[in-house]
């Protein structure tokens, strides 16, 4: 472990106890997020990206969720904290941006109220001070006429404006870690580009560490330093962003990247999405034996069907695959 690790996830396992059985959405993953760094997380939908982010802040209802493992934030295990302690962290040291700006803002409260309540809570300022800070945050995320917008309800705003408001809310207490769960996925392409630009700029200004979950490879290329690839609840590969794009080791990563031409780091945002991989993602209730990717893998070998793949470390990269043993 490096010295400047901010978030350190060990063997995180999140299971849901459902009527159909126990569903392991996150299956013993290890991740490190360093200070000031952006870690990209990619993978097909349903592979456990959101559950990972929600598990970090313990935002999953439990039951049905059961979270195991260690999530060290600044050396302290978030999973062992009391509810009061974790509430001190939420929205303050660690905050979150969600995928759906249409549904993640409360329709019956003004945007200003929703931003200022976190400020008031964590910074112990008066209502008025919190409100003016909220307006200031809206200005920072480039919402036009922020003092008027603050008094409006979310339904009066476009998707892009709402996502700006969400970002303002998430950054209002200067978090040290931002969990951004597909922050641009629900937006159309031009708006996506604006939001990406905004996040890029803010990242430089506030020097927050970011866990960036996205389908958007352009966004990963522009913002992330390292990338973790998830498949069915496991991190199957982790690598510095250039290495991953230039030479994906895991056949799954290969499939995801498809035949994208990789031209330097300046891939235009919003263009490149993850590729479709042939075959269906199996149900989490029927996880394939041994390597869980083998039924869809074009390079599957005999051993892939028989034994769990080993974790191979190679030049600062990690891959969970028999090919590299």
């Amino acid at each position: 472990m490096r010295q400047d690790s901010l978030l350190s996830i060990h063997h995180l396992r999140t299971r849901f106890h459902t009527y159909e059985g126990v569903l392991t959405a996150v299956d013993g993953i290890d991740l490190e997020v360093y200070r000031g760094e952006t870690l990209g997380v990619v993978g097909e939908s349903g592979c456990g990206k959101s559950v990972t982010a929600l598990s970090i802040l313990r935002l999953l209802a439990s039951p049905p969720a059961e979270i195991r493992g260690k999530v060290l934030f600044d050396g302290e295990n978030l999973l062992q904290m009391s509810l009061d302690e974790i509430r001190q962290i939420r929205g303050n040291s660690i905050s979150m941006i969600f995928q759906e700006p249409m549904t993640s803002l409360n329709p019956v409260l003004t945007v200003g109220e929703q931003i200022s309540e976190a400020i008031k809570l964590h910074q112990g300022v008066t209502r008025e001070e919190a409100w003016s800070k909220a307006v200031e945050m809206l200005r920072i995320v480039q919402v036009p006429s922020p003092d008027i917008r603050a008094r409006e309800y979310p339904h009066k705003m476009s998707g892009g404006m709402r996502q700006r408001a969400m970002i303002a809310m998430a950054l209002s207490c200067h978090p040290r870690l931002l969990l951004a769960d597909e922050p641009t996925t629900a937006l159309d392409v031009t708006i996506q580009a604006q939001i990406v630009e905004l996040m890029e700029r803010l990242k430089e200004e506030i020097r927050t560490s970011i866990v960036l979950i996205t389908h958007n490879l352009g966004l990963i290329a522009e913002m992330a330093k390292r990338v973790a690839v998830m498949y069915m609840g496991k991190v199957v590969e982790e690598a510095p962003v250039e290495d991953l794009f230039l030479e994906p080791l895991h056949p799954y990563t290969h499939g995801l990247l498809g035949s994208i031409p990789w031209i330097g780091r300046k891939m235009k945002s919003g263009r490149k999405q993850l590729q479709e991989i042939p075959g269906m993602v199996p149900s989490l209730l029927e996880i394939p034996d041994a390597c869980r990717f083998h039924p869809r893998c074009s390079r599957a070998m005999e051993i892939c069907r028989k034994e769990e793949p080993p974790l191979v470390q190679k030049n600062g990269r990690r891959v969970l695959c028999w090919l590299w043993k």
Partner: protein, 306 residues
């Protein structure tokens, strides 16, 4: 806002007119002769004729309705065929009792039903959820007059804590309002639970939690406020029913309200009082709906601009 209220008020006029028309003709279609009832069994045909003339019942029916409407416009609902008092006076004497009982019952029902629904939604399928659910079921499946009588037996006769009937002090309202609330509370508990389970699973609730808000704030400020629309709808509906339908309870507890008045009037074929009371019921119902609509707009900004 003022314009909205005015528009809503004006739009109730045709509804009222419709009620009055329906009512007037439906009553005329009932078997039985009000003049006969008023005159009694021993009256001669001539007596009945005179009474019929006094009541205007010998005129063509459309003229009768015309008179009825023009008086209505002057808040003159006619005189009771039974007591000869102006109908409006008869109603006015009982309206406060009915209102008092309805308000007390609905308040009690909300006071218990809304927190019970919230707790059930926060802890679904736990013993407390099942407990509230069974209590609600118990309240709704109990015949009102039976529950009323049981309460009288226990609290008036055995314990002698509360009067068995009549009006006069706050003690008199306790048993009838509990009886009514027991029935209504189930609806409020169920809708609160369903509505809260829905809003508690919404994305904005997760957003609220992700800000570090206390669970109490998440539940009340973020989830409950969104759940209020269906709750208020049911409360309004039930309140409207209480205003017009507490007949059994009013009978059991000898509570002099509009429910008793209308039953007595139907038995006596006292057309003017029946008409007047039902019209007042209609008016109250419309008013309750108006208040509910205004509350919608107050709670949900999306309705304000719609």
């Amino acid at each position: 806002m003022f314009q909205y209220v005015l528009k809503r008020l004006l739009s109730t006029l045709p509804v009222l007119l419709g009620i009055s028309l329906l009512l007037f003709f439906m009553l005329r279609m009932l078997p039985g002769d009000p003049a006969q009832v008023l005159a009694g069994q021993m009256a001669s045909p001539d007596d009945i004729k005179i009474i019929r003339h006094q009541l205007g019942l010998d005129r063509p029916i459309f003229i009768q309705y015309g008179f009825f409407l023009s008086r209505l416009a002057r808040f003159d609902l006619g005189r009771s065929a039974r007591t000869q008092n102006p109908v409006i006076k008869e109603i006015w004497a009982r309206l406060p009792n009915t209102m008092l009982l309805a308000v007390a019952a609905i308040s009690l029902a909300c006071l218990f039903g809304i927190p019970a629904g919230i707790i059930s939604a926060v802890r679904p399928y736990t013993w407390i959820d099942y407990l509230f659910n069974s209590m609600a079921l118990f309240g709704i499946s109990m015949p009102v007059f039976w529950l009323g009588l049981m309460l009288v037996v226990i609290f008036s006769i055995m314990l002698q804590w509360l009067p068995a009937g009549g009006t006069g002090s706050w003690k008199h309202i306790v048993l009838p309002s509990f009886t009514l609330a027991a029935f209504v509370v189930a609806f409020i508990t169920r809708i609160t639970r369903a509505s809260m389970i829905e809003t508690l699973s919404q994305d904005y609730t997760t957003t609220a939690r992700s800000k570090g808000l206390k669970e109490r704030v998440v539940i009340v400020k973020h989830a409950l406020k969104n759940a209020l629309i269906p709750i208020i709808t049911v409360v309004g509906l039930q309140f409207g029913l209480l205003l017009g339908g507490a007949v059994l309870t009013e009978t059991v507890f000898a509570w002099p309200g509009l429910g008793r008045l209308i039953v007595d009037s139907i038995l006596a074929r006292d057309y003017p009082v029946i008409q007047g009371t039902i019209l007042i019921f209609g008016l109250l119902y419309i008013l309750v709906n108006l208040v509910v609509d205004l509350l919608y707009a107050y709670i949900d900004p999306r309705i304000r601009y719609a």
